[in-house]
């Protein structure tokens, strides 16, 4: 503790620690090998857990198969890299025995509940405030030691304590994502009909379990059928300890890994059968008339028309002409690739039985006595624009001006309990809770309006309440005033205009889409040029197109980061080599292609807004489209698969080896 960070650093320099290095293991497959160093002596095989999931008759499918393709596919370990590192300010008020904790978190309410247990404090003496949070992407969907430590120290010294994470600390102490080694086997008929899928999933857990660490690979397994009519699925997860930062939810959280695997496998099968990758997908999609569709992994896909976005994307690139161009390019010795990914995701996480801490969301709407509208949401956004989207929903439902709506979030003393924003759930669940609270209030406003107009049937629009018969109207503000002044009340009606709803979703939502990447590889340098990026995403009904576009762009950027540049690298002693932004390659403006984004809209029947969620779609759809494109470019050289990131060095080596083959 010090009065400024320079002094604190000086003091820390005076501490001499004598470490005795222990044997370490940083690679999950090496950690499984006989004789590997044990990360925790009490679990000498480094296996934290195994998990098996099966549906249909996978062994039968493989017995009947006319063709089986197998591939080891990795989804490398990534560092989420929210631009704002974590930070905590803890203020203890000894007189009140109350603690206020400011933290850069995605889950203020869950943090408060868990902190109460950690600190042994009554929860109602704790207040968590999450002012504007500078990005999360899952990395702040956690409860971290520093949050409890700052609180503990503030109580101990009876003085406010501030801790701001450095970028180096952020890379070494905030969760990482991905970290899969997947062994896929796909059984099919020679006409391209896919029969069964097997997966052995080795999950690099890091050294400890953070909040959701072991749950992430189970999401991969749930989504491994993708958009395809797979009757037979079998998956085994091996959760492995390594001497690395724990992995946990990072944008997509298990679904990018699943999608990357299945979308690569479909392309590998198509290549094996010499089928067109678009045609093999169209042949195997769950048909549009099959919804709700029960997957072999136990899910119920809510709605979909999987061919629609693919056809829209194929039209956008003029696919047949593009394949002709590719033929000419190949004849001229150029390495041009066309990559397709058709992804599905599981969003609006999720029904409470499927989550560790409640999967509902809450909303309170207050119409103030002046007619201004305050929305309090338990979803705690950090860049997703829910302040705007939720204001739109409220303004549309109540017929008021959007500027009269204020959305408040991220303060446990102000907002009723909530879960948070993650898993593409903000609008689909939080927005739906808001929708129902608005219905309650709308009915009450109409009652007061009808009373003031001395009529039966009224409509709400344009900031006024109008008698459908006489055309007379009363302003929204007048109604609000009357509801609080309460000189007269409608029958069986209480004063005030406040409504709270907690909405429990009956199912997940399942967005989908198609991404196409046109690439060209430089034969001499291995450099990849993304010539075109087409994203057709179906996230259900769209409330704010500009915000949805922003989510798609940002998602694609993180997918491209994984496909082309990013990788957390450890040496054999467990030292993180990519320990600063100088060494970890997040996408920069000049590296990003122009994203041609469009949509199809298949409403979800799960919620009355028809929305599905879009925060993670871009990331999930992206990486297989990029890798499929580059592998397609290199296919004439005999290249069948390359693991991410597709660095020029790796591509160059593949070209050299392919050339020799």
């Amino acid at each position: 503790m010090a009065t400024d960070r320079y002094l604190a650093a000086d003091a820390a320099d005076l501490v001499e620690v004598d470490y005795e290095p222990l044997a370490a293991v940083a690679d999950p497959e090496k950690a499984l090998a006989a004789g590997a160093p044990a990360v925790h002596p009490q679990w000498p095989d480094n296996i934290a857990f195994t998990f098996h999931q099966e549906g249909g008759d996978t062994e039968g499918a493989f017995r009947d198969a006319e063709v089986v393709v197998r591939q080891r596919i990795t989804s490398q370990r990534l560092i989420p890299t929210a631009m704002e590192t974590r930070g905590v300010v803890a203020e203890w008020r000894a007189g009140e025995r109350s603690l206020t904790l400011y933290s850069s978190t995605q889950i203020p309410h869950l943090l408060r509940t868990l902190l109460a247990g950690i600190l042994g404090m009554p929860e109602n003496h704790l207040r968590v405030i999450t002012p504007e949070v500078g990005g999360g992407f899952g990395s702040k969907l956690n409860v971290y030691a520093e949050e409890a430590l700052a609180a503990f120290v503030a109580m101990r010294i009876n003085h406010p304590v501030k801790w701001i994470e450095s970028r180096r600390e952020n890379f070494q102490a905030t969760i990482h994502g991905r970290g899969h080694v997947d062994y896929f086997e796909l059984a099919a008929k020679r006409d391209g009909t896919m029969l069964g899928l097997k997966l052995k999933l080795i999950q690099d857990l890091g050294a400890y379990h953070q909040l959701l660490t072991p749950a992430i690979p189970t999401l991969s397994v749930l989504m491994m059928p993708g958009l395809y009519n797979f009757p037979n699925i079998s998956a085994d997860i091996v959760g492995v300890f390594t001497n690395c930062v724990p992995t946990d939810a990072y944008r997509g959280a298990g679904r990018p890994e699943a999608t990357h695997g299945i979308e690569r496998m479909v392309d590998i099968l198509a290549a094996e059968l010499q089928m067109d990758p678009a045609a093999i997908r169209l042949k195997n999609f769950v048909p549009a008339n099959a919804f709700p569709y029960a997957t072999a992994t136990g899910l119920s896909y809510d709605s979909g028309n999987y061919a629609a976005p693919l056809k829209q994307a194929l039209d956008a690139v003029e696919y047949p002409k593009l394949r002709e161009e590719q033929k000419r390019a190949r004849a001229a010795g150029r390495l041009m690739g066309i990559g397709i990914s058709t992804y599905g995701e599981i969003c609006a996480i999720g029904p409470s039985p499927a989550t560790p801490a409640g999967g509902w969301e809450s909303a309170t709407v207050k119409i103030e006595p002046t007619g201004k509208v305050t929305v309090m949401t338990g979803a705690s956004p950090h860049g997703q624009g829910e302040e705007t989207t939720f204001a739109q929903i409220a303004a549309d439902e109540l017929g008021v001006d959007i500027d009269d709506v204020l959305v408040v979030h991220g303060d446990t003393a102000v907002v009723q309990y909530g879960i948070g924003t993650f898993g593409s759930r903000g609008t689909a669940i939080g927005g739906t809770a808001l929708y129902y609270a608005l219905q309650d209030l709308k009915a009450k406003v109409k009652k007061f309006g009808a009373m003031l107009l001395d009529t039966q049937k009224v409509t709400l629009a344009g900031g006024t309440c109008t008698d459908e018969v006489s055309g007379k109207s009363v302003s929204f503000a007048e109604i609000a005033g009357a509801a609080y002044r309460a000189l007269k009340l409608p029958p069986d009606t209480e004063p005030g205009l406040v409504a709270t709803r907690f909405w429990e979703p009956p199912n997940f939502t399942f967005p989908f889409g198609a991404h196409i990447v046109v690439s060209e590889v430089d034969r001499d340098t291995g450099a990849i040029e993304i010539r075109r990026y087409i994203a057709v995403d179906d996230c259900g009904k769209i409330i704010n197109p500009l915000i949805v576009a922003g989510q798609v762009h940002g998602g694609v950027a993180q997918g491209l980061g994984q496909a082309l540049w990013e990788q957390a690298v450890y040496d054999d002693s467990g030292q993180l080599l990519t320990g600063e932004l100088t060494d970890y390659a997040v996408p920069k403006a000049h590296l990003m292609p122009w994203i041609e984004s469009s949509h199809t809209e298949t409403p979800s029947p799960v919620n009355p807004l028809g929305v599905k969620g879009v925060g993670e779609a871009g990331t999930i759809g992206c990486s297989p489209a990029v890798v499929n494109s580059v592998v397609d470019a290199l296919a004439p050289l005999g290249v069948r698969h390359i693991d991410m990131p597709l660095t020029p060095e790796k591509i160059w080596n593949a070209i050299q080896q392919g050339g020799r083959a």
Binding site: A549, G554, M592
Partner: protein, 156 residues
């Protein structure tokens, strides 16, 4: 040994005694109380700390406050005047060029520098001009749109 420095920040003089090792970003945030410039990496990669020093955009995490003694500094707080946003701020707002907003103060100042150097940039020139500012949310596309709009160029 502390040194006395005077900086003209957003057109107002500020005189303080600071340690020579105090970084400009920490001086601006902790001493002057201007929290618009952010700290994202402390290795001059991310650009969140970008401020304008004597008319040039610089990364304030990699220079000392004493090096700015006697000089003019503009932070994001110095852009809006009389309740009216600067044209670049307005363009960022209208084009949805920010999501979490953490990179935005630096991004806007770099974008203004870019247009000062090249008033009619192509999209590729905009992207190269913003190479030194990382954004993890937007994928940069709406930022490019905003800079193009601010440059007064119609979308092709």
């Amino acid at each position: 040994m502390k040194r006395k420095i005077t900086l003209h920040i957003n057109a107002k003089p500020h005189t303080d005694e600071v340690e020579p090792r105090l970084l400009l970003i920490h001086y601006l945030r902790e001493v002057v109380g201007l929290t618009g410039p952010h700290i994202g990496c402390e290795t001059s990669i991310c650009g969140a700390c970008t401020v304008v020093l004597d008319g040039k955009a610089v990364k304030s995490c990699t220079m000392f406050a004493v090096q700015a003694d006697g000089r003019q500094v503009t932070t994001i707080e110095g852009l809006a005047a009389n309740g009216k946003l600067d044209a670049m701020q307005e363009a960022f707002w209208n084009e949805h060029a920010l999501q979490c907003g953490f990179c935005t103060p630096g991004m806007i100042l770099s974008a203004k520098q870019l247009l000062a150097d090249n008033p009619h940039p192509s999209d590729a020139e905009i992207r190269h001009g913003l190479e030194g500012n990382l954004c993890r949310c937007t994928g940069y596309q709406h930022i490019v749109n905003a800079v193009r709009t601010a440059a007064g160029k119609a979308e092709a």
